[in-house]
């Protein structure tokens, strides 16, 4: 009875998130408190209580992830401000501009780098602000241009240090275990991304237009047409004045600064340096190579403060996820949910792949298998109930992460990329989901092969 009450509350939570009646983070906090109360937790007390365990201990449970998010956001902001990301895209477009597929593959590579530094919409912006209009300008269809950035940042996800820390904290496995799985997931995601670009480019062909885009800032707000190739919409010296301003703000970064995205991952993988110092070294490298000495301190501080804006939404979400994890790990919740989840969870490896492959759509639209939402609670139940070994749950959630990171039309990166390319997020989902679904199935097979055989 308790189990069904908890599942009913979870269903209500999904409904609240799906219908956007409550922001995901707020819904998760309410869900945590409700689950704890249903599971019989006292309101106060040191052990297993709503206020002490769920709210007080749950809030900082993912603190390491939050620090990594802040540092990753800082590095991403710095890469944007110093022009490192835009220079990478510019060079790729200049080298491959006559061949749209080559440009798309190049932007895909840049997006992988950006996705390995930071996640969500900031990663999409790093690669897409210049990359999406540049791809469209050389003939890549808009829906493929958006999808290219999305599959790129998702392919970078297995290398993202923040993601390693999150999965380690949320699932309760060492970072080395996360690394072990994600390094094997990475080539699968890259192959899936390349397949998307090459097949969709062949299927849809190239597209050139005579078009004028509405200025980004709206009427009279104008920064001129973004991607359609129209001349500047403002009068007089508008175009060149703004171009000069942008040049001052974001000129080409020197070639050696372009190595910034690979510094943290090289340190973490090659020298086994922990995540925070690896990210800090990347920050110092970007500052030293791309910023003038006398501007270094001010640039560092300014970009750090700006990065709080970028980092705030995921940090709030991770505070709520920590509470949810604390709630589903309460003894009463584990005792109630384990028999139900055991009964419905597939036991044979073949069924594991088949059933969870069918359930892939449940990670879309903030569904119950979204690890950055209720999926964290599901993962907690699967582990605390002893249904699967933690590395297998890690593989399951990382595989689903490939789908929701690209195809979920409610993910901020999907919404931003699609709208920036001038297409609806749902169109982007339809374009990418056959490929991300296949990547997820491959990830499930990998999970079985590594941890369940």
């Amino acid at each position: 009875m308790t189990a069904f009450a908890i599942l009913a509350v979870m269903a209500v939570g999904v409904g609240l998130m799906l219908t956007r009646r409550l922001p995901t983070a707020f819904a998760l906090v309410l869900l945590s408190v409700a689950i704890a109360l249903i599971a019989g937790a006292p309101l106060t007390g040191d052990e297993g209580s709503v206020t002490g365990t769920v709210l007080q201990e749950g809030a900082p449970m993912l603190a390491s992830t939050m620090v990594a998010i802040l540092l990753g956001s800082w590095l991403g902001t710095l890469m944007s401000e110093t022009g490192i990301a835009s220079t990478l895209v510019r060079k790729i477009v200049e080298f491959g501009g006559e061949r749209p597929s080559v440009v798309a593959v190049g932007v895909f590579a840049v997006a992988i780098m950006c996705g390995s530094i930071t996640g969500s919409a900031p990663a999409a912006m790093l690669a897409g602000v210049v990359g999406i209009p540049a791809m469209i300008a050389v003939g890549v269809p808009p829906v493929v241009a958006a999808g290219t950035v999305l599959v790129g940042i998702a392919a970078g996800l297995p290398l993202e240090l923040i993601n390693w820390q999150f999965l380690s904290d949320a699932i309760g496995v060492p970072v080395s275990t996360v690394q072990h799985f994600q390094l094997r997931m990475f080539p699968i995601a890259v192959v899936g991304g390349l397949a998307y670009i090459l097949i969709e480019m062949r299927r849809r062909g190239t597209r050139h237009t005579w078009a004028v885009r509405v200025p980004a800032g709206g009427a009279d707000g104008g920064s001129g047409p973004e991607a359609g190739g129209g001349p500047d919409a403002e009068g007089g010296h508008g175009a060149f004045t703004r171009a000069a301003r942008r040049r001052e703000r974001r000129g080409d970064a020197p070639w050696y600064a372009l190595l910034t995205p690979v510094v943290p991952i090289a340190l973490a993988l090659g020298l086994e340096i922990p995540i925070v110092p690896s990210l800090l070294t990347g920050l110092v490298f970007a500052l030293v190579t791309a910023v003038r000495w006398r501007e270094m301190a001010s640039t560092a501080l300014r970009s750090l403060y700006r990065s709080f804006d970028v980092a705030a939404p995921p940090i709030v979400l991770f505070i709520a996820i920590g509470m949810l994890l604390a709630a589903v790990n309460l003894p009463g919740a584990v005792e109630a949910l384990s028999p139900v989840v055991t009964a419905i969870s597939p036991s044979s490896p073949l069924l594991f792949v088949a059933v969870f492959a069918v359930l892939v759509p449940l990670c879309l639209y903030r569904g119950p298998m979204n690890i950055f939402g209720l999926g964290a609670g599901v993962a907690g139940v699967l582990i605390s109930g002893g249904i699967y070994p933690p590395p297998a749950v890690l593989g399951l959630m990382a595989s689903y992460g490939q789908v929701l990171g690209v195809s979920d039309p409610t993910s901020t990166q999907t919404v931003w990329s699609a709208q920036y390319a001038g297409v609806r997020p749902e169109r982007s989902m339809l374009s990418t989901i056959p490929y991300t679904w296949a990547v997820a199935i491959a990830g499930l097979v990998l999970t079985v092969w590594l941890y369940l055989l």
Partner: protein, 229 residues
């Protein structure tokens, strides 16, 4: 109730008359350079460099049109007409879709009508008659088709942009947006238009910047506000 017929009645439907006059005073090279300045990847380029590239692209487009005139060739792609060119964030006049099995040019009649309405508002109705705008759209996309072949390589060679250099070794780079200017110049020459379609594109852009996107409903029936004719 009769529809308003003056700019004062609907001040945001079109750009101010002086804005159109300002654009009309610019030459094709300057319009092309401004188009390049707004294109991605050119944020750091000097105006002189952009003007030089615009000049070259216009020359290549004009030569392409001359060759096409001499050969008597025209659009070889399949042509289709459609509505839906007036979008939430874009006015799409025409597009060329190139696939392995052949290309298709799609003309968006509602957007072409809208462009024509903008031309009327700017006082350029005689320069951009309805049929000329349609033909320009067709020629523009025909130019894109041609630029996929040796003409594209010729354009790249003549733009002579160095993407990377190590000692004497030089890698020639692609100039985003140059093909667009060449296509406008091609359409200008092929249609023997009095003014370049670059000016019409600039006017549509100015109108969007001033008034926002047009409503996607029968723009042909939009009354002329009595522009600066």
């Amino acid at each position: 109730m009769s529809a308003p017929t003056s700019g004062a009645a609907e001040p945001r439907r079109f750009a101010p008359a002086e804005r159109y006059a300002e654009l009309a005073a610019l030459g094709d090279v300057e319009l092309g350079a401004r188009m390049l300045a707004a294109a991605p990847t050119h944020e750091g380029r000097s105006p002189e460099r952009l003007r030089a590239w615009a000049r070259t692209a216009i020359a290549v487009g004009t030569e392409m049109a001359g060759d096409a005139d001499a050969a008597g060739s025209g659009a070889e792609a399949r042509v289709a007409e459609s509505t839906g060119g007036l979008r939430r964030d874009e006015v799409l006049l025409a597009e060329y879709r190139r696939r392995a099995r052949g290309g298709t040019v799609v003309l968006y009649t509602d957007a072409l009508d809208y462009a024509r309405t903008v031309a009327e508002a700017a006082g350029w109705a005689a320069d951009f008659p309805r049929e000329a705008v349609r033909a320009a759209a067709l020629d523009h996309e025909c130019a894109h088709r041609l630029l996929h072949g040796p003409r594209g390589r010729d354009l790249r060679r003549r733009l002579d942009h160095t993407a990377a250099a190590v000692g004497r070794l030089r890698v020639r780079g692609h100039v985003v947006g140059a093909d667009e200017i060449a296509a406008h110049a091609y359409a200008h020459r092929r249609g023997r238009m009095r003014r370049s379609p670059l000016l019409l594109t600039a006017a549509v852009a100015a109108t969007l910047a001033h008034a926002g996107p047009p409503a996607p409903a029968a723009p042909a029936s939009v009354p002329s506000p009595g522009g600066p004719a």
